[in-house]
Structures are given as C-alpha cells and as structure tokens.
Amino acid sequence: MSMRIGLVCPYSWDVPGGVRSHVSDLALTLRERGHSVDVLAPVEEDFVLPGWVTDGGRPVAVPYNGSVARLSFGVKATRRVRAWIREGDFDVVHIHEPLAPSLSLLTCWVARGPLIATWHSSHDRSRMLTAGYYIAQTAMEKLRGSIAVSQEARRTLVGHVGGDAVLIPNGVRVKDFQPENHDRQRRRELLFLGRIQEPRKGLSVLLEAMPAILDQVPDLRVVVAGPGDSEEIRKNIPENVDRALTFYGAVSDEHKQELLREAQVYVAPHTGGESFGIVLVESMAAGACVVASDIPAFRHVLEDGKAGRLFSSKDPSALAEAVLSVLADDAARRALVSRGHSRADQYDWDSVVDDVLAVYESVHMPGEKVTEDLRGQALGRFAARPAFIRGRRSGGQGDGE
C-alpha cells in the first residue's frame, strides 16, 4: 500500500548533519519503495531544493544542545507548518527530534492524527528540564509512536521525558558509499569530519596527538572537512602539524563520500554527546578503517573494537597510539575494514526502512489523515484562519470525539 508521508527535519537543509542526512536518506528510500514523500525543513533563501523538499523558512543560528544549530521558529514558521499540514494530505507525519525548538516542535503543536517521532540525540536531564516540561509533555502526548535510533537516545526519552520507544537504528545507504578503492590503493591519509570549532567533535584531541603521530609517520596527510574558521585553528599549532593539514571547509554529501572512499583511516575523536555515530557506519561502508573514541555509542557501532579501533576518549596519546597501530599493521587494518563492511550492511536503509514502515502501519488507521490541531491550544486558536474559526463555532467544542 502506498502512503503519503510527511517528514519534518528541524535543522537547516543546506547544512550537512546527522539528522538531516537521516531524513534525506529515509525520504529517498521510501520514495524508491513507491511512497509519496514530502520533507519540511528550514532552508536558506538561495539554496536549490529537490522537488520533494518544502521550504520551512529561513533558519536562525542559535545555541542548542551544546552546539550551534540552525533552526526555524516564530509566527512565520508556524504558518508555514500549518500550510504544509493542510496541503500535504498526509497519512503519516514523521517528526525528527520532536523537542528541537524548530519546525519539529511546531509540528507537534499544530498537527494531529498519526504522528510518529524519531529521537536522535541524548540529552542530559538538566537540559530536558529547561526545555520546558509542560511544552515537552504536551507535544509528547500527541505522538502515536516513538522511535529511538540508539539505546542512549531511548534512555533519554524513558528516563527524562517519560515515554517508550522502539529501537530502530540509523540507516546508511550502503550503495552510495561502495568503495572503488581497495585499502592498498588508498591515500595514506587521516580524515576528520565535523564542525572544526565544536569541542564535542574533538578536533583538538586529534591536533594534540598529531606531533607524536608525525614523529613516526612524517609524510602522513590529514584532511579536515567541516565548517568553521580554519585560520583560528592554524594559529595555535606547530608548523609541521600545520603542513600536514588540509582544510576543505564544509563539504557536500558527494564530496564526503569521495573523501571517505579515498582515505585510509577515518578518525572520530568525539568527546561525547553522540548517540549513534552514523559517520562511523558510512566510513565502514566506504571501506575506510575507523579509529574512534570509546564513547558508548561508538563502542556499540564498532562492536567493542572488532569493526574499528577504539581509544580512550579525550586522550591524545591513546589516539596517537591507536592511529599508529592501524597504520603500521596492514593485515590488522584490512581485517578491521572487512569486518566493518559487514557491520555496515546491517545498517543498510534498504532493510531498516521495513521496520520504519511497520511503525507507520501500526499507528495508521485506514482512511485517517494528519490534520491541523486547534483544540486546547490558545496559540492555535489565535493563529487559526478566520474561515476555520467560523466553521468551528457551529461545530462546538467536543467535535466528533
């Protein structure tokens, strides 16, 4: 049965990121299965969109969940969400990161019917409380079903917000990453991906480890791809490290796939806050050897070190040792790569999407549609279109329950 599915992404569509790629891959895979999909996301004005993405308004950069996120909110955004719901005629609306103060939370407020949510990140308790318990609770109550992408994300939901979720891991479109280069044809190169000034992404840990690594392998190249001010970082590092580094700035998805296919080693020195580690799966799918910090999410994805090398988080000397060991031992590195490849297959969107569709089907009643919600909400009542209010007056308060 083909469904009309609406997906809501809270973060800017033109900035690469975990949630954004998740939404885009899910949309592509659902479309390949013959469903009709429309994505609502914040978009910069001059960004060209594919036909299946709806512009949810210009995003604003604000600090959120320990980093800077580009979000859309306010009266204008609310109006766009309403119009999208009204015109979309969706069987199911799937909201990503429902408590993100952006299009996601707005959709929770203004829509009713078969709503599904996916929880991506893990928060600490204090942040959940400051998010506004009442707002969170009211939004949560309308979600018919919740999906968590990892055990950590599920724990956040169960422990801090209250509520249950089924676990469906992140998917990777493995075929988009298929390696053309075998390990021995790859460049002797370390790859770092992520916002370079973001402490949680851990570039500083890698940079501190570089002198020790370059002592052993002086000709090693390091490619750093991610948005941020590279001049600022270059100021404070030794000259030989600076020479080894190449900064690419923000890269497109295609460019990222290419970088992952070329590099011998992908380094993930994240210091925390990650609940899944999709890039690790992408690296494994692309055939790069993964060296990652031993935070819980990464341990799980790397099967406790069988599918990639782990080092103790925030420890530059441990990182240096781990990188040197995989560079030195070709056989061990290729064993990690091959195990990593079969691990990545388990996360292929082609199989993960079946579980997502099962969730859609289990909350959707035949003939039901997602509609605007104007009940029980002062904001909703004031924002309603006059025609709709006139229609409601004759209907009365408890319409059709």
Binding site: R112, T138, M140, E141, K142, R144, G145, S146, Q151, G162, G163, D164, V166, L167, I168, P169, D354, D355, A358, V359, E361, S362, V363, H364, M365, E368, D373, R375, G376, Q377, A378, G398, E401
Partner: protein, 188 residues
C-alpha cells in the same frame, strides 16, 4: 478596595479557565489516541490469528503442531468477537503466542519455508507479530501518559476526564518465536 482588584481577579479567573480548557483538550486528545491505538492493536491481533489459522490449515505444519496452533488461533478469534473480557482475551492471545513458539522451532520453519507458499505465510506471520508488539507498546505508552495526566490534582478536582473509564494497559505475551525473528525490529 478599588475597581482594579476586580480586574485582577477577572484576569486570574480567565487565565485559570484557559488552563483548564487546554488541559481538557490534552486529555481529550489522549483518550482519542488510546482509542486509535486499541483499534490498531485489535486489528493486528486479528491479523495474527488469521495468519496462524491459515498456517495451521495449510497442511504445511506437522499434524500435532497444526492442531495446537489451530485451536489457540481459534480461541483467540472467539475471544475477540465474543463477550470475553479484556483479561480473557489477553490470556487467549498469550496462549496463541505460546502455541506458535512451541510449534515453530528452527526445523519446522526450515521445512515450511521450502514448501510452496510456506515462506510467504511465515513472513506474513512475522510481520503481523511484529506489528502486534509495536501497537501494544504504543498503546501502553498512551495509557501511561493518560493515567499520569488524570492523576494530577487539578484534573481530579475539576473532573476534567468526565465519566470516561480509566484506561487499562494491555499485558500479554506477544514475543515472536525466536526462529521467526530476522525481519523484526532489532532488539539490541
């Protein structure tokens, strides 16, 4: 005493009324959510027992297993249509789960899969069992949220829930026979 006291009191009363109306709206939506979830669970349970019955009468199972599954599936169907209480129905569905688990071991499944039409039946059974799990989980989550709200002092004091009965969580064994798993939601 002057007039602005009156204004203040009116504003407070108005705000309080708004709060009550919003809470009543929330409660209403939660009850609706529980209704839909129960309907969905009901549909999925019916689907599961139909497939189980079909499997039992297909001649693909060994005779003893076929009788076990057929009887359990039939009992589950009867409990669904008849005047059985929620508890009796949950019991019948649990019995069906146990019958399926006992009958469908690895060898049986391997044999059924090879027979013509067998694989399709097994996949359908696995899919419906997975959807039963999902629906029940979502239903119980809605029940939890609703109970939590109905237990709040204001909701009780102002009888915002009216006469609607307290929602009940559905407890039954809906595990999927381990040898059928593979297409199910990963549980790690």
């Amino acid at each position: 005493m002057s007039w602005w006291w009156l204004v203040l009191v009116l504003v407070v009363v108005a705000l309080f009324g708004l709060y009550l109306s919003m809470t009543a709206g929330r409660l209403d939506a939660l009850h609706k959510r529980i209704d839909t979830s129960s309907l969905s669970l009901d549909a999925q349970l019916l689907r599961r027992s139909s497939v189980a019955l079909e499997l039992a009468t297909s001649g693909l199972l060994d005779p003893a297993g076929a009788i076990l599954v057929a009887e359990a599936a039939h009992a589950a169907r009867t409990a669904a249509d008849g005047e059985a209480t929620a508890g009796e129905r949950a019991e019948a569905e649990t019995q069906l789960t146990l019958a399926l688990e006992a009958t469908l071991d690895d060898e049986e499944i391997a044999e059924v899969r090879q027979a013509p039409g067998g694989a399709a039946l097994l996949d359908e059974l696995a899919a419906s069992a997975q959807r039963v799990q999902l629906s029940r989980r979502f239903l119980n989550d809605a029940v939890r949220a609703c109970t939590q709200l109905r237990n709040q002092g204001m909701v009780r004091a102002f009888h915002l829930a009216g006469t609607s009965p307290w929602p009940q969580a559905i407890e039954l064994d809906d595990s999927i026979p381990p040898s059928l798993v593979g297409t199910g939601v990963p549980s790690d």
